[in-house]
Symmetry: C2
Subunit: 116 residues, 2 copies
Protein backbone atom coordinates (compact mmCIF):
# COMPACT_ATOMS: atom_id res chain seq x y z
CA UNK A 1 0.00 0.00 0.00
CA UNK A 2 2.17 2.83 -1.25
CA UNK A 3 2.35 5.38 -4.04
CA UNK A 4 3.85 4.02 -7.24
CA UNK A 5 5.98 6.40 -9.28
CA UNK A 6 5.90 5.13 -12.85
CA UNK A 7 8.98 7.03 -14.08
CA UNK A 8 11.05 5.62 -11.20
CA UNK A 9 9.91 2.12 -12.05
CA UNK A 10 10.81 2.66 -15.72
CA UNK A 11 14.35 3.70 -14.77
CA UNK A 12 14.95 0.23 -13.35
CA UNK A 13 15.16 -1.60 -16.67
CA UNK A 14 15.99 -1.01 -20.30
CA UNK A 15 14.73 -3.96 -22.34
CA UNK A 16 11.82 -3.61 -24.73
CA UNK A 17 8.49 -5.40 -24.69
CA UNK A 18 9.28 -6.98 -21.30
CA UNK A 19 6.52 -5.65 -19.02
CA UNK A 20 7.18 -5.14 -15.32
CA UNK A 21 4.32 -5.48 -12.86
CA UNK A 22 4.26 -2.51 -10.48
CA UNK A 23 0.92 -3.11 -8.79
CA UNK A 24 -2.29 -5.09 -8.78
CA UNK A 25 -5.89 -4.00 -9.17
CA UNK A 26 -9.00 -6.19 -9.24
CA UNK A 27 -7.11 -9.22 -10.54
CA UNK A 28 -5.26 -7.16 -13.12
CA UNK A 29 -1.55 -6.44 -13.33
CA UNK A 30 -0.53 -2.80 -13.59
CA UNK A 31 2.54 -2.96 -15.79
CA UNK A 32 5.05 -0.55 -17.21
CA UNK A 33 6.71 -1.45 -20.48
CA UNK A 34 9.24 0.11 -22.79
CA UNK A 35 8.43 -0.21 -26.46
CA UNK A 36 10.67 0.27 -29.46
CA UNK A 37 10.18 -1.12 -32.94
CA UNK A 38 7.35 -3.44 -33.85
CA UNK A 39 5.88 -5.97 -31.43
CA UNK A 40 3.99 -8.96 -32.86
CA UNK A 41 0.49 -9.29 -34.21
CA UNK A 42 -1.68 -10.96 -31.58
CA UNK A 43 -5.02 -10.89 -29.83
CA UNK A 44 -6.51 -11.74 -26.45
CA UNK A 45 -9.79 -13.59 -26.73
CA UNK A 46 -10.62 -13.26 -23.04
CA UNK A 47 -9.70 -9.69 -22.21
CA UNK A 48 -9.60 -6.10 -23.35
CA UNK A 49 -6.14 -4.55 -23.42
CA UNK A 50 -5.56 -1.08 -21.97
CA UNK A 51 -2.63 1.04 -23.20
CA UNK A 52 -1.82 4.41 -21.62
CA UNK A 53 1.13 6.24 -23.14
CA UNK A 54 3.44 7.93 -20.62
CA UNK A 55 6.25 9.06 -22.91
CA UNK A 56 6.93 8.95 -26.65
CA UNK A 57 4.48 7.70 -29.24
CA UNK A 58 2.92 4.32 -29.78
CA UNK A 59 1.08 3.24 -32.90
CA UNK A 60 -1.35 0.41 -32.41
CA UNK A 61 -1.91 -1.22 -35.76
CA UNK A 62 -5.27 -2.88 -36.22
CA UNK A 63 -6.26 -4.79 -39.33
CA UNK A 64 -8.40 -1.90 -40.62
CA UNK A 65 -6.67 1.19 -39.19
CA UNK A 66 -3.83 2.49 -37.05
CA UNK A 67 -4.35 4.33 -33.77
CA UNK A 68 -1.56 6.74 -32.84
CA UNK A 69 -1.07 7.62 -29.17
CA UNK A 70 1.06 10.24 -27.45
CA UNK A 71 1.58 11.05 -23.76
CA UNK A 72 -1.69 11.34 -21.86
CA UNK A 73 -3.59 9.31 -24.43
CA UNK A 74 -5.05 5.88 -23.97
CA UNK A 75 -6.62 3.19 -26.10
CA UNK A 76 -8.55 0.03 -25.29
CA UNK A 77 -8.09 -2.86 -27.70
CA UNK A 78 -11.30 -4.86 -27.34
CA UNK A 79 -11.00 -8.56 -26.65
CA UNK A 80 -10.56 -10.67 -29.77
CA UNK A 81 -9.23 -7.82 -31.91
CA UNK A 82 -5.88 -8.41 -33.59
CA UNK A 83 -3.35 -5.68 -32.95
CA UNK A 84 0.35 -4.94 -33.32
CA UNK A 85 1.95 -2.16 -31.26
CA UNK A 86 4.77 -0.29 -32.99
CA UNK A 87 7.00 2.46 -31.58
CA UNK A 88 9.28 4.23 -34.02
CA UNK A 89 11.28 5.70 -31.12
CA UNK A 90 11.39 4.44 -27.55
CA UNK A 91 8.03 4.84 -25.83
CA UNK A 92 6.91 4.17 -22.26
CA UNK A 93 3.55 2.60 -21.62
CA UNK A 94 1.29 1.76 -18.71
CA UNK A 95 -0.42 -1.49 -19.60
CA UNK A 96 -3.30 -3.05 -17.69
CA UNK A 97 -4.34 -6.65 -18.29
CA UNK A 98 -5.64 -9.48 -16.10
CA UNK A 99 -2.83 -11.23 -14.27
CA UNK A 100 -1.11 -13.89 -16.38
CA UNK A 101 -2.40 -12.61 -19.71
CA UNK A 102 0.32 -13.62 -22.22
CA UNK A 103 1.65 -10.41 -23.77
CA UNK A 104 2.01 -12.09 -27.14
CA UNK A 105 -1.40 -13.73 -26.92
CA UNK A 106 0.38 -17.10 -26.63
CA UNK A 107 1.65 -18.56 -23.35
CA UNK A 108 4.59 -20.24 -25.10
CA UNK A 109 6.11 -17.04 -26.43
CA UNK A 110 4.97 -14.65 -23.71
CA UNK A 111 7.31 -12.61 -21.52
CA UNK A 112 7.57 -13.97 -17.99
CA UNK A 113 5.83 -12.05 -15.23
CA UNK A 114 8.35 -9.77 -13.51
CA UNK A 115 7.35 -7.79 -10.44
CA UNK A 116 9.37 -4.69 -9.51
CA UNK B 1 -12.47 2.33 -30.91
CA UNK B 2 -10.38 5.50 -30.93
CA UNK B 3 -7.57 7.16 -29.04
CA UNK B 4 -8.72 9.01 -25.94
CA UNK B 5 -6.89 12.22 -25.08
CA UNK B 6 -7.34 12.74 -21.35
CA UNK B 7 -6.44 16.45 -21.30
CA UNK B 8 -9.01 17.15 -24.04
CA UNK B 9 -11.67 15.32 -22.05
CA UNK B 10 -10.78 17.29 -18.93
CA UNK B 11 -11.24 20.57 -20.80
CA UNK B 12 -14.90 19.73 -21.30
CA UNK B 13 -16.02 20.27 -17.71
CA UNK B 14 -15.07 22.19 -14.60
CA UNK B 15 -16.96 20.72 -11.64
CA UNK B 16 -15.15 18.81 -8.92
CA UNK B 17 -15.63 15.21 -7.83
CA UNK B 18 -18.00 14.55 -10.74
CA UNK B 19 -16.26 11.80 -12.73
CA UNK B 20 -16.74 11.56 -16.47
CA UNK B 21 -16.50 8.17 -18.15
CA UNK B 22 -14.22 8.34 -21.19
CA UNK B 23 -13.94 4.64 -21.99
CA UNK B 24 -14.62 1.12 -20.83
CA UNK B 25 -12.29 -1.76 -20.07
CA UNK B 26 -13.19 -5.24 -18.81
CA UNK B 27 -16.37 -4.04 -17.11
CA UNK B 28 -14.64 -1.03 -15.60
CA UNK B 29 -15.24 2.64 -16.31
CA UNK B 30 -12.20 4.71 -17.26
CA UNK B 31 -13.01 8.08 -15.72
CA UNK B 32 -11.40 11.48 -15.53
CA UNK B 33 -12.21 13.61 -12.52
CA UNK B 34 -11.21 17.03 -11.27
CA UNK B 35 -10.52 17.18 -7.54
CA UNK B 36 -10.28 20.20 -5.28
CA UNK B 37 -10.72 20.28 -1.54
CA UNK B 38 -11.66 17.24 0.50
CA UNK B 39 -13.94 14.51 -0.83
CA UNK B 40 -15.74 12.29 1.70
CA UNK B 41 -14.55 9.34 3.74
CA UNK B 42 -15.83 6.16 2.14
CA UNK B 43 -14.94 2.63 1.10
CA UNK B 44 -15.85 0.11 -1.55
CA UNK B 45 -16.34 -3.37 -0.15
CA UNK B 46 -16.46 -5.04 -3.56
CA UNK B 47 -13.65 -3.40 -5.48
CA UNK B 48 -10.19 -1.92 -5.39
CA UNK B 49 -9.97 1.72 -6.42
CA UNK B 50 -7.26 2.88 -8.85
CA UNK B 51 -6.12 6.51 -8.83
CA UNK B 52 -3.61 7.82 -11.39
CA UNK B 53 -2.67 11.48 -11.02
CA UNK B 54 -2.41 13.40 -14.30
CA UNK B 55 -1.94 16.94 -12.99
CA UNK B 56 -1.55 18.56 -9.57
CA UNK B 57 -1.33 16.65 -6.31
CA UNK B 58 -3.78 14.34 -4.58
CA UNK B 59 -3.54 13.21 -1.00
CA UNK B 60 -5.36 10.02 -0.22
CA UNK B 61 -6.02 9.93 3.49
CA UNK B 62 -6.28 6.49 5.01
CA UNK B 63 -7.08 5.86 8.66
CA UNK B 64 -3.45 5.12 9.50
CA UNK B 65 -1.49 7.22 6.99
CA UNK B 66 -1.69 9.61 4.07
CA UNK B 67 -0.46 8.78 0.57
CA UNK B 68 0.59 11.79 -1.50
CA UNK B 69 0.51 11.50 -5.29
CA UNK B 70 1.85 13.76 -8.04
CA UNK B 71 1.71 13.46 -11.84
CA UNK B 72 2.76 10.03 -13.08
CA UNK B 73 2.04 8.40 -9.74
CA UNK B 74 -0.68 5.93 -8.94
CA UNK B 75 -2.19 4.27 -5.91
CA UNK B 76 -4.54 1.37 -5.44
CA UNK B 77 -6.91 1.59 -2.48
CA UNK B 78 -7.69 -2.03 -1.65
CA UNK B 79 -11.32 -3.05 -1.34
CA UNK B 80 -12.80 -2.40 2.06
CA UNK B 81 -10.25 0.25 3.05
CA UNK B 82 -11.64 3.59 4.15
CA UNK B 83 -10.15 6.55 2.32
CA UNK B 84 -10.69 10.24 1.77
CA UNK B 85 -9.10 11.97 -1.24
CA UNK B 86 -8.04 15.57 -0.67
CA UNK B 87 -6.57 18.05 -3.17
CA UNK B 88 -5.28 21.32 -1.78
CA UNK B 89 -5.19 22.79 -5.31
CA UNK B 90 -7.07 21.55 -8.35
CA UNK B 91 -5.85 18.11 -9.44
CA UNK B 92 -6.75 15.92 -12.40
CA UNK B 93 -7.14 12.21 -11.93
CA UNK B 94 -7.68 9.11 -14.03
CA UNK B 95 -9.89 6.84 -11.97
CA UNK B 96 -10.68 3.21 -12.79
CA UNK B 97 -13.51 1.37 -11.06
CA UNK B 98 -16.06 -1.25 -12.09
CA UNK B 99 -19.01 0.32 -13.91
CA UNK B 100 -21.63 1.67 -11.51
CA UNK B 101 -19.36 1.78 -8.47
CA UNK B 102 -20.77 4.64 -6.35
CA UNK B 103 -18.00 7.24 -6.02
CA UNK B 104 -19.02 8.00 -2.44
CA UNK B 105 -19.37 4.33 -1.55
CA UNK B 106 -23.14 4.90 -1.25
CA UNK B 107 -25.57 4.73 -4.20
CA UNK B 108 -27.80 7.39 -2.67
CA UNK B 109 -25.15 10.08 -2.56
CA UNK B 110 -23.07 9.01 -5.57
CA UNK B 111 -22.44 11.17 -8.62
CA UNK B 112 -24.46 10.04 -11.63
CA UNK B 113 -22.60 8.26 -14.43
CA UNK B 114 -21.73 10.78 -17.14
CA UNK B 115 -20.16 9.62 -20.40
CA UNK B 116 -18.21 12.12 -22.51
Amino acid sequence: MQAINLAEKLEQFSDFYQPRTVGEFNGHDLMVVKAKGPFVWHKHDETDDLFIVLKGRLEIHLRDRTVSLGPGELFVVPRGVEHCPVAEEEAHILLIEPRDTPNTGDAETAAKRQVI
